[in-house]
Symmetry: C2
Subunit: 318 residues, 2 copies
Amino acid sequence: MGSVAYDSVRTQAGSRTDALGGSATYFSLASSYFSPVGVVAVVGDDFREDDLELLRTHKVDISGLERKPGKTFRWAGVYDTADVNTRETLDTQLNVFADFSPALTAEQSKADYLFLANIHPALQLDVLEQMDSRPKLVALDSMNFWIEGNKADLKKVVEQVDVLIIDENEVREFSDERNLVSAARAVLRMGPTAVVIKRGEHGVLMYLSEPDGSESVFACPALPLDHVIDPTGAGDSFAGGFMGYLSASGATASTLPAATLRRAVALGSVMGSITVQGFNMEALTGASKADIQGRFDKFHALTQLNEAPGGNGLPWSN
Amino acid sequence: MGSVAYDSVRTQAGSRTDALGGSATYFSLASSYFSPVGVVAVVGDDFREDDLELLRTHKVDISGLERKPGKTFRWAGVYDTADVNTRETLDTQLNVFADFSPALTAEQSKADYLFLANIHPALQLDVLEQMDSRPKLVALDSMNFWIEGNKADLKKVVEQVDVLIIDENEVREFSDERNLVSAARAVLRMGPTAVVIKRGEHGVLMYLSEPDGSESVFACPALPLDHVIDPTGAGDSFAGGFMGYLSASGATASTLPAATLRRAVALGSVMGSITVQGFNMEALTGASKADIQGRFDKFHALTQLNEAPGGNGLPWSN
């Protein structure tokens, strides 16, 4: 559940106008490589037939994509030419998204995996309550806008989800903890089993509550990329790869193997790394299995710290 | 070779005045746990006997520590209370360091491992030329001050070293490449076998020239720390652990195993993580072998991405 939008972006690599975007779009396309996925979102009567066709081609179930009179949600932004991590929003037109009241189809309310993309926390909670029974796993994304303006609502829904996916600075703001370890612990105390902290080009930190009450931490670097075209949608593509892998693995929140979650984080990072190497959906929709698998395999080479021949004992000088 | 200083710092955790500091001091103390080490530096006649004794206690060879009339190098700074990565220099008094003309002892000129800490690149080159023969491995650190003011001199010495250890933003400035992959490749083309890019709390990226002409990359996260007292000296402690491990391993630049370098990076990160959890040298000098080994072991748990039971093949949806 999230947004489907038309985005206009300008980056150092060029620009695009009214190209397909939105959190639900990036999420579902990234996820579609690994698992059946459906969207809950709204578009206007200006939504283009070939964009519907793109989603169908990727076997995204669009029966939950409501079509309303009016214009589709539009966003326009420009990325700093020197620092691709910095962007400025030029224009936001909510249009039909302003009154979005998500309604699950009968089939969707029986889904085993639910991702609540960044949207008003009251709507996120509403969707969760529309589920026939508790899904195997629920993940949620949010952003500073809701943290600043609706923290109480956001806390209420975070308490009920299994995985919080959130940016580094946002988790600090949400938890009122400047230190990232303290911030992660504060989130785990609220209820989630795991908190996935996105740090852009610095990768991801995941904190996981272990059955014995302790927590474990996984640090997943980002794949170093020699060119970035357009960072829009990286976070939602991450979430799509992450949830798609968990869904394919059959994982349940109550018995969530750490190793499965770690692979889900790596695959999420892979999907994010693909998205940013094209404008809008261009790289994501054209990704080959060989490219995805190759990037996934690179994570092992990137992070592997082999034991020394004699084991990990250090060479003390005395 | 580097500085020995008296530092006055204020952080959110408190303050210290005229406490032992300096790049050569942090480096040699961190390195001393793994390998015999000697300093090349200068102090004034105000240098305290108990600080000499501290170095001796850690078996740091101080025969190359020149004592000159005048005052020891002094630095004073304050760290942002909200963001420990941001600091402001309040005062720098070069004192006897202003005319530092490093002179190696006969024994030092035969050393197998040489670390050239951040100092005027012409002096770094001068020390390298004082070596009787080419050491097994030479590493160098620098900073934006020299990159901005003496880039030509710096390039001349970088061409002759095996490992460049440098901050993320500094390598961008040094190479005139905004993208980190491109920046690393530019450095490797200048001559070094490896470039170790420090990213503070986001860890380290190491690029290594492989014998076949390709390059490999290692991403080493920082240990997540639930409290940081004083970041001063983290980079020099990193370099000390890194070089101490390489020295203990007997590694030679021309046949440098990637696995050995990766462990050296992890151990450097361990020593940096210890330093920042105390003021000045307090945590570093008091570190136990159990703490160092424990942190080193944590890197495996922190980054391990196990294969799935059926291998790393991904669960394609179709």
